[in-house]
Symmetry: C2
Subunit: 233 residues, 2 copies
DNA sequence: TACAAGTATTCTTATATAAGTTTCAACGAG
DNA sequence: CTCGTTGAAACTTATATAAGAATACTTGTA
C-alpha cells in the first residue's frame, strides 16, 4: 500500500529534472551521493536510476555517470517518427512548408490537453522525402505551455528537441491511432499528391515527463514507398 | 567480457520453459530454490526473474510465486491484435471463414522463417466485427514446427494460444510494417467489401521465446470504424 | 466466518569486487 | 625543451552476495 522507497527516489529525480535542478544533458549525482541526499541506501537509489533508464529518462554509462536524456534530432526521429523504407531503413524527411497560427482550442483539445487550455498553437508542416511529398503533420499544443513559440519560426525539423531545449518539456511517450483513408481534395492539393491516393492517417497524443498531455498531432502519410514500423513486445 | 551470472540464470530459465521443464502456466521454484539450484545467490536469481517479468515471459505476484506466462485469448488479443474502437475499447472479432493449406515456401519465406523450411502451412481467415467484414489475415508458419496443424481445424480465434498449448511455442514479440492501400478486386470479393475501399495492410514477422521467427503474417484491415493502436515509450 | 500461522515475495540495507572513464603526473624519445 | 606514451589514482557504474524487515497470499484451525 505504501510507496516503496525506490519509487519515491524515482519521483524525486523526475521532479528535479522537471524543475530544472537537473537540466537536459546534465550529469546526476552519483549513486552514493543521491542515496545520501534522499536518505536511502545506494542499492535503492540504483534501482530507481535503473528504472529511469528503462523508461529512457536518463542514460547511464559505466565509468562515466548518469545523465538526463538529451533529445537529439536523431533519437527523437527514431523514436517518434516511425516511417521506414521497405528494407527497414530510417527515413529522414526534409521540412518543406510550415505555418504556425494561434487559435481557440476546440472542445476536444480543451478536454484532452494539459490544463484545459483556451488557446493553442497549431503547427502545420509538409515534409518530403527524396523529392516526393511524404507527410503532412498538424501539431496542436497549449499556447500557455510554449510562450513565444510563434517567434521561433521557422522551427527545426524535430519539434520535440526544441520543446526540451527551449521549454524543458521532455517528451517521453505517445499513443497513436492509425487508419487508412483516401486523400480528399483539400489534402491532396495541400500536399501535392493526387486526389484519392491512399494515405495512412495517424492521430497522436503526446505526453511529457510529468505525464502531461502536451500535444495532439494529426499526421497524413503517403505510404507508397514507405511503411509505418511497429514493434510489439 | 564474460556473461554475467544473472544473464546465465535468465537463459537457463528460458531453456527450461522452452523444453517443457516449466510448462505454460506452471509455477517456477522460488527465488531461493532457483538460486541454490543454479549455484547463485537469491539476489542474482531475483534480478534474472525481474528481467523475465519485464519481457512478459513470466508473471510474478508477491506472496504467490512466479509463473510462466499463459497466453489467454484475452491477453493474446490485447497484445497482438491492435485494432480498437474510436473510443479506445478493445475489439473482439468473430471468426468468419478459415482455410488451411500446405504448400511450398516462397523464397522470401524460406529466407525469413526459422530453419529455412521447404514447406509451410498457410492459414487464411476472414474475421468480422458487429456484422461487418473487418479483416483478412494470412498466417504462414513452417510446417515442420507445427505437425498435424491441418487436422486441428477449425482453429480457435487466437492462434498464438494454440501455438503455446499444442506446441509449447510461446510468442513473445513481433514486428509489423503498415501501409495504406486500396482493396483490389480479389481482395474485395474475398472480404465482402467494395473495391477501392481504403485498407490498412500489415506485414508481420513473429518471434517466439527462443527468438525464432515462427510466423509471417499479412493482414488487411478495414479501418472505417476502427483504428490501429500504437504506444510509444 | 475470523483469526493465526506459514510461506513466498518484495523491499531495504550493507558490503565487496569488477570494470569502464577521465585526469594528470612522470617518463622517455626525439 | 617538447611531444607523446605510460600508468596510477580517483571517479563512475555494474555485478554479486548476504541478511533482515515488510508485505501479500494461502491455508489450517477455532
Amino acid at each position: 500500500m505504501t510507496e516503496p522507497l525506490y519509487r519515491m527516489v524515482y519521483r524525486k529525480v523526475i521532479e528535479r529534472i522537471a524543475d530544472g535542478t537537473y537540466p537536459p544533458g546534465a550529469m546526476l549525482p552519483n549513486e552514493f551521493e543521491l542515496a545520501a541526499d534522499l536518505g536511502v541506501s545506494q542499492g535503492t537509489a540504483r534501482k530507481a536510476l535503473s528504472s529511469l533508464e528503462d523508461r529512457a529518462i536518463v542514460q547511464r554509462r559505466q565509468g562515466k555517470g548518469t545523465f538526463v536524456i538529451l533529445r537529439t534530432p536523431e533519437n527523437s526521429l527514431f523514436h517518434f517518427f516511425r516511417l521506414r523504407t521497405k528494407t527497414g531503413e530510417q527515413v529522414t524527411p526534409e521540412p518543406h512548408t510550415e505555418t504556425i497560427t494561434k487559435r481557440k482550442a476546440t472542445a476536444a483539445e480543451r478536454a484532452t490537453l494539459f490544463e484545459n487550455p483556451s488557446h493553442v498553437f497549431e503547427i502545420t508542416r509538409v515534409r518530403s522525402f527524396e523529392g516526393k511529398p511524404l507527410c503532412m503533420e498538424q501539431s496542436v499544443v497549449p499556447s500557455e505551455l510554449f510562450p513565444g513559440l510563434m517567434e521561433r519560426a521557422p522551427l527545426k525539423n524535430a519539434l520535440y528537441v526544441m520543446f526540451q531545449q527551449a521549454y524543458s518539456c521532455i517528451i517521453i511517450s505517445a499513443e497513436e491511432h492509425l487508419h487508412a483513408s483516401l486523400a480528399d481534395g483539400e489534402m491532396a492539393e495541400f500536399m501535392g499528391i493526387a486526389e484519392g491516393t491512399p494515405v495512412l492517417v495517424s492521430e497522436r497524443v503526446t505526453r511529457d515527463l510529468l505525464e502531461r498531455t502536451v500535444e495532439m498531432r494529426k499526421g497524413i502519410f503517403v505510404t507508397e514507398d514507405l511503411t509505418y514500423f511497429v514493434e510489439m513486445n
